[in-house]
Amino acid sequence: MFAYIIRRVLYAIPILIGVNLLTFALFFVVNSPDDMAVSQLGDKYVTPEAIDNWKRKHGYDKPLFLNPDAGGVETLTDTIFFNKSVKLFAFDFGRSESGRDITTDVTTRMGPSLAVALPTFLVGIGVNICVALMVVMFRATPLDRGAVLVFVALMSISYLFYIIGGQFLVAKTWKLVPISGFHPEGQVWKFLILPVLVGVVAGIGAGARWYRTLFLEEANQDYVRTARAKGCSELRILFRHILPNAMIPILTGVVVLIPALFMGSLLIESFFGIPGLGSYMLDAIRSQDFAIVRSMVFIGSILYIVGLILTDISYTWADPRVRLS
């Protein structure tokens, strides 16, 4: 088990290098630092001196891969590639184009992101499983078919409408909670309820539908028939037989998402004005702050890979038959 995890972690390294090379290629080879300087400075102020200044200020005035002038080890280290890409491995994210320290920003913004994403995730799973179990109880009846139609309809509504509709109904018409905002002290829950609610409701369609297929797959197995034959109640079959067996596919789909919760939700955070990583990314994209985007790409891929490893580990926990080797 331990050896397996070590091997998986080692296997992650080439993937991270790949991610790194890809982002480097995207950001520095497709568009040269000069192009970036021009678009950052705006058309009016573009003079060769201004571009040089901008590049020097942000550390883009070095060669891409090899710096023969520097001599020694610095031939390799005094380059854009080393400074901007390799340093990410040491979690040294450097400064954003506007001069702020990215590492501090990321650590302070992680909290609000989690405060929204974690409840949404947990409540969402609970609600989805309950709804799906209820539908499975009425399988092969008009109620079941109707429910599936409703799920598909819910899936067909854009996430943006859920947010806008939720803000309109709950916050504007009923005036139950503030429309948006965030306050770290005091009544945080007041600001969190609506985003969590919107997140959960928006996820019901796809989530409950997926769980329903998982449960149905199990409900057609022989052991369910046996349980019914020996006189188990339907409820007991659902919770004691079907649910634990459906845990394995549920885990695969769900565990991989857990680390990504740190990243927060782009849309929810920006609509509700929550100062988390999601809105951080959105602001970076809108202001074309490539340094932040680069760092977030790196953090995101690490979290995804951690999620994959966690998924494998959770297999053994949910299903004793699975052995990792």
Binding site: V19, L22, F27, D35
Partner: protein, 456 residues
């Protein structure tokens, strides 16, 4: 008149031709015909398919572009003909100039007066603050109180024309399809509804703004209709870009195994570990920098928007092939162990021939299911991308741009609900139809579900 061929126009017509040819070929395969038959024997399948086809038709009509010839100025007879700088599509002509009736700013559906007060002159010539009358709504009415009876009368006329058109459309089908066991009547009901609605919209929009106007005074209904092309094209073109990459890599990985498999697996794990939205955003931004730095590439403004649109399709396609690739690889691994592939090996059939004749045809169902499923996902993604600011060009009509522009309108008092409603209805109908159709296709083509049914 001078035809304009945008890149996306060419691609969409190419795609539709390819799809028609593809299905024409598939028709010969009895098993595939049986499965499609299963999809279309259900009423839901007929209804959703008709809705999707209607959307595709609108998109195609909106993809035939041209530039109007301008009237020659006085005294300049003959000689050179000048063309309008704006690009018009056949749909614009068919809609009867719905998009050319601009107001000053917001106005509610069927309103006669503007939504916001302005300084206007009253009958005596004094300046007063009041709601000015709209320029293109209810001008034919003598008495504003007569509005709703007039709307009802005009609606009856519009619907009557629509029903006439539907009869013309359906009667030949009815004649041609006598004795068919498929539930065509479901499709005809939808056709009649859609044609009547379209006729009603075109007729009534000459007298009123059916869905009101937006901040810039543009007709909301017209914008919602213009969004159809963007949604349909994005949903199909992005998948089209993704398919060859995913299929070729997946089949090769599953068939050749060894180092090819390792490389392909490495590629898609790397790609899927990057947060998709960031990768897309970064790529679009970088392309935007490229467009901005090379402005002389493009003739008309629309071509610039079109270039960005094509780039977006490419980027979405290139960044989203990993899941399909994974599925195809697994399926190929399974198939290449089967007896008939082994037999082909033993007979000395070449690798390319085995891949083309024995393996690829057996992965078609996966490709098909992915194509239909991805379509609705991409239409939804467009709205989100536009909100983030990396979607289609703001000058290009799309539901995402509409939502983005209107996202704070609901919180105004009085509420402006029509822009969002317009985008919502048009988008929801398409995505719902596509999702329901995708479910049916999956049920019919997925061997797992058909097996389960065979057992039952």
């Amino acid at each position: 008149m001078k035809p304009v061929l945008l890149w996306s126009d060419a691609l969409i017509f190419l795609l539709v031709t390819a799809l028609v040819l593809f299905f024409w070929r598939l028709r010969r395969d009895p098993q595939t015909r049986e499965r499609w038959g299963e999809v279309f024997r259900s009423r839901l399948g007929m209804v959703t398919f008709t809705v999707i086809i209607a959307y595709v038709l609108v998109a195609l009509l909106d993809s035939l572009h041209f530039r109007r010839a301008l009237e020659n100025p006085e005294g300049n007879s003959g000689g050179e003909v000048y063309y309008d700088n704006r690009v018009t599509s056949v749909l614009d002509v068919l809609s009867g100039g719905m998009g050319e009736r601009f107001e000053r700013t917001y106005s509610a559906p069927f309103a006669l007066l503007s939504f916001e007060k302005q300084t206007i002159k009253d009958a005596a010539g004094n300046d007063i603050r009041d709601f000015p009358p709209l320029e293109h709504a209810g001008r034919h009415l003598d008495d504003p109180a007569d509005k709703w009876p007039d709307v009802a009368r005009k609606s009856a006329v519009g619907l009557g024309i629509g029903l006439l058109f539907s009869a013309l459309l359906i009667l030949p089908q009815w004649w041609w399809l006598r004795g068919s066991t498929y539930p065509w009547y479901a499709s005809w009901a939808v056709q009649a509804t859609l044609v009547s609605l379209a006729a009603w919209m075109v007729y009534l929009s000459r007298y009123y703004h059916i869905l009101g106007t937006d901040l810039g005074g543009a007709d909301v209904l017209y914008q919602s209709i213009k969004g159809i092309r963007t949604g349909v094209l994005l949903g199909t073109l992005a998948t089209l870009v993704m398919l060859p990459i995913a299929v070729s890599l997946g089949v090769m990985a599953g068939y050749f195994k060894g180092w090819v498999d390792d490389v392909v697996q490495y590629l898609y794990t790397t790609l899927s570990s990057i947060p998709g939205i960031l990768l897309i955003a970064a790529s679009v931004l970088l392309f935007q920098v490229y467009i901005d730095l090379n402005p002389d590439f493009f003739d008309v403004g629309m071509e610039k928007a079109d270039a960005r649109f094509i780039a977006l399709c490419f980027i979405l396609g290139v960044t989203s092939w990993s899941s399909l690739c994974r599925l195809i690889r697994a399926e190929t691994l399974k198939i290449s162990q089967l007896g008939y592939v082994q037999a082909a090996h033993a007979f000395g059939v070449s690798h390319t021939r085995i891949l083309a004749r024995h393996i690829l045809p057996n992965t078609v169902h996966i490709i098909l299911i992915t194509f239909v499923l991805d379509f609705s996902a991409l239409v939804l993604a467009e709205a989100v991308l536009s909100y983030i600011g990396v979607g289609v060009d703001p000058s290009m009509g799309s539901w995402g741009n509409m939502i983005n522009g209107a996202r704070s309108e609901l919180s105004r008092t009085p509420t402006i609900w029509w822009t969002l409603s317009g985008a919502f209805v048009f988008m929801f109908t398409l995505v719902l139809a596509a999702n329901l159709f995708a479910d049916l296709v999956r049920d019919a083509f997925d061997p797992r579900t058909s097996l389960r049914r065979a057992e039952a």
